[in-house]
């Protein structure tokens, strides 16, 4: 389902690609597809409507920047608007603090509490955990088991039914720790007693942070729930859990919008290490089911990066390992080669499939191998014989086979570039091609 959605989104983008001026109908279609993609990612309906209105007006009203085509222009607006939606700063300081966890039942508070404890522990902080979930059977067992695994002190008492009492005692018990995390019982906004309880806990702990845990699959309800939680205790950060499933986490966007806070962490996995800091770019890409949007947006900068590669020398057929190194370095910042090629306005130019077959991990390896080459070898790869190969391999902690593979890749690139020159027919065409390659059109 999602694939077809991102497919139609891409189609709509393609329609914009060839246009010289922003076409109202094409923008409308894009916005419509965008709406569908966002709605099926559980983004709040009102947010989607506001967003699409903004994108529509900006796309049609703003002047087309130089050196960009319509598609890039519109995409950049889409991206900027989306980033604006998710990217409120959620600061995380490594200082003594009390964190109060809040959220609906089953959203993953307890697991996340342990994960956050682990996160601060790894950063060298002393962490203590209080289990204030007095309702769910096994809650204390769960948290204390998880904490025991990472040697974090966990205070709780399954026999006490008053969360306030536990927290009062707990704050004394773990007062020597720098970061204190209070796990609470799951509750929803329609339970006044429990909402009062968390208001009391917030007052009692004088929490420096009150984080709302949101299940990635949570739908339109997210907005309402976040609003009520925010009214009660003033949420200042959102954590999205269960991002390892297929859910897109659009509900969290509603929560961010309601609480005017940012996304602190993303939980994606069942082990205690599976917690990541929030990355707006990856999140948006996933939301829309599209590849690396940021790369597209930063295409102009990319073109400048590509300029670092000595185009002149390359046009003359002089392409050394040094050039390839620069290229790989630039590519490393931009993403997989094939994606970049598909983004650049290269028309129907076909490159041999083998060129694309280099994964980013391989590229990183290649760069390491080249780092252990001498300047002479970089300028003139034909120097590399088997004894040099041995030395390079040893220096890079690899095998001679890897060096051979690298040289093979180099030869292929070399040949491809030469081939381009040949088929281009004359220097003029080649220059144009290279200009196009660098995205100046």
């Amino acid at each position: 389902m999602m694939d077809s959605l991102s497919g139609s989104l891409k189609d709509a983008l393609k329609k914009l690609a060839g246009k010289a001026v922003v076409d109202r109908a094409a923008v409308d279609e894009l916005v419509k597809n965008l709406q569908r993609a966002l709605l099926s990612a559980d983004v709040n309906v009102k947010l989607v409507m506001d967003l699409s209105k903004a994108i529509r007006t900006r796309s049609l009203d703003e002047e087309l920047p130089k050196n960009t085509n319509v598609r890039e222009h519109v995409l950049r607006i889409v991206y900027q608007e989306l980033v604006r939606l998710v990217y409120a700063s959620a600061d995380l300081k490594l200082e003594p603090q009390v964190i109060l966890m809040a959220g609906l039942q089953g959203s993953g508070k307890t697991t996340t509490t342990a994960k956050i404890a682990r996160y601060f522990q790894k950063k060298g902080m002393k962490v203590g955990v209080i289990c204030a979930d007095t309702f769910r059977p096994g809650a204390y067992d769960q948290l204390s088991t998880l904490c025991a695994k990472i040697n974090v002190p966990c205070f709780g008492n399954p026999k006490v039914t008053d969360a306030r009492q536990i927290v009062r005692e707990g704050l004394v018990a773990v007062k020597d720790q720098e970061v204190i995390i209070v796990d609470t019982q799951g509750r929803h906004a329609l339970e006044p007693d429990l909402i009062q309880e968390i208001i009391d806990l917030n007052a009692l702990t004088k929490a420096s942070h009150r984080w709302l845990v949101i299940d990635a699959a949570l739908g339109q309800q997210a907005s309402e729930q976040a609003k009520r939680f925010h009214e009660a205790i003033g949420i200042d950060g959102v954590i999205i859990t269960k991002m390892d499933g297929t859910a897109k986490g659009g509900g969290a966007l509603s929560a961010v919008a309601e609480t005017k806070s940012g996304i602190v962490f993303i939980g994606a996995g069942e082990t205690i290490e599976d917690l990541e800091r929030f990355d707006a770019n990856g999140f948006i890409s996933r939301l829309l089911g599209m590849g690396d949007l940021q790369a597209l947006v930063e295409k102009v900068q990319e073109a400048q990066m590509a300029d670092e590669v000595d185009m002149e020398a390359m046009m003359k057929g002089h392409f050394t390992l040094r050039d390839m190194y620069k290229q790989l370095e630039a590519l490393n910042k931009m993403g997989p080669l094939k994606q970049i090629m598909s983004m650049l306005p290269m028309g129907n130019m076909q490159l041999p499939e083998g060129v694309y077959d280099v994964t980013s991990t391989k590229m990183a390896r290649y760069r390491i191998l080249m780092d252990s080459m001498s300047p002479k070898e970089l300028d003139d790869p034909s120097l590399i014989n088997s004894s040099r190969m041995q030395r390079i391999a040893r220096g890079a902690g690899g095998t001679p086979e890897e060096v051979r593979e690298l040289l093979k890749y180099y030869k292929m690139m070399h040949k491809t570039l030469k081939g381009l020159r040949g088929s281009g027919g004359g220097k003029f065409n080649m220059q144009r091609l290279m200009k196009r390659f660098s995205g100046m059109q």
Binding site: M1, M2, A41, D42, L104, P137, K242, G245, G251
Partner: protein, 344 residues
């Protein structure tokens, strides 16, 4: 239950009715008496029989064809309503198409109320989606004991709590129950179900954390056979449909314990992903019935519609709170009646 969705449907219904009514009014501008006639056809004055006849022929017996244009606005509003109520996008599309098909081209006598036409169309679309309910006690009575019920679902939807609630429900219905603590992964899960069962006076078969869930559940079934227990409730660890190894573990559990019923548990607050994962679970291990938890959190009930539509399986129960008795058998007819305000 689902009062939010009910309100929304009510307003959508009014909109649809108004659109059709407006279209009717527009097509009959020369007849100012129409509203009166609409309200009470029998009240057409008897003083002037010829006029009354005229009116009857012109208005009341005249058929009006509902065109797509008449209801386009109202339908797109209904679409938004459904989306806001967490009905997944593909399901919304299907529902709207259904309602449109039910309305467009319908011949309607002016005398017939617009409202009933709209309600009928909404009702049939919803009923089609929600399908039949599922009578668990009747199922157990008509099958060989022990009846083995396996609970599946993603993490944190409330499987363990649901197992406890259904255990309590079945016990009240007079069945003997045994629970298999098949969640051997999550820390505290065995303690959780243990405490529930102790409170309810239900036997639990458990191994240690990290044990093979298939073995636990096999033992549970053996226990039930030996003790002539009526029902086996098999809890499992929550798992994501994207984790192939965990799904094949579930597959193994199914092979080993041979459940009579596989109950898929999801939460009423889930959004579009509900559709994706329900379909995936149905595909890999199958699902015979659905339990929707946390229905008290949400007054919209869209997930119920989404899931039922996607895998076409009946809804068994709704979980509506934290206490053991907070569970209600799902009856589509009643729910739809209630959603449409009993006006149909």
């Amino acid at each position: 239950m689902f009062s939010g969705l009910r309100e929304r449907l009510q307003s959508a219904r009014d909109r649809l009715g108004a659109s059709i009514g407006a279209a009717a009014a527009a097509s009959q501008p020369q007849e100012p008496e129409k509203p009166a006639a609409l309200e009470k056809e029998g009240e057409v004055p008897a003083k002037n029989p010829t006029l009354a006849d005229k009116v009857r022929i012109l208005i009341i017996d005249r058929e009006l064809v509902v065109s797509e244009k008449d209801i386009a606005d109202a339908l797109s509003e209904l679409e938004m309503t459904l989306l806001e109520s967490d009905v997944a996008l593909p399901v919304t599309d299907a529902l709207i198409a259904d309602i449109r098909a039910g309305l467009v081209g319908k011949h309607r006598k002016i005398g017939e109320s617009v409202d009933s036409l709209v309600v009928r169309s909404l009702k049939s679309a919803l009923l089609k989606v929600l399908g039949q309910g599922f009578d668990l006690p009747a199922y157990i009575r008509s099958h060989e004991r022990p009846v083995k019920i396996l609970f599946t679902g993603v993490n944190g939807t409330g499987k363990t709590t649901t197992v406890a609630k259904i255990g309590a429900y079945l016990k009240k219905e007079g069945f003997s129950v045994v629970i298999g603590a098949g969640d051997t992964f999550r820390a505290g899960a065995i303690e959780q179900i243990g405490v529930h069962a102790e409170r309810l006076g239900i036997k639990v078969i458990e191994h240690q954390t990290g044990a093979d869930p298939s073995a636990v559940l096999f033992d549970t079934v053996q226990y039930a056979i030996a003790h002539k227990t009526d029902v086996v409730l098999a809890d499992t660890a929550g798992r994501f449909h994207t984790k192939a190894n965990l799904m094949s573990q579930l597959e193994k559990i199914r092979r080993v314990m041979k459940p009579d019923l596989i109950v898929y548990v999801d939460e009423a607050v889930a959004g579009n992903d509900a559709v994706v994962r329900a379909a995936e679970f149905d595909k890999t291990v199958g699902a015979d019935a659905i339990v929707l938890t946390k229905a008290d959190m949400d007054s919209r009930g869209g997930a119920a519609i989404s899931i039922a539509h996607t895998i076409g399986k009946p809804l068994l129960f709704l979980g509506t709170g934290q206490a053991y008795e907070d569970i209600m058998p799902f009856e589509p007819g009643t729910v739809v009646e209630e959603l449409l305000g009993g006006a149909a």
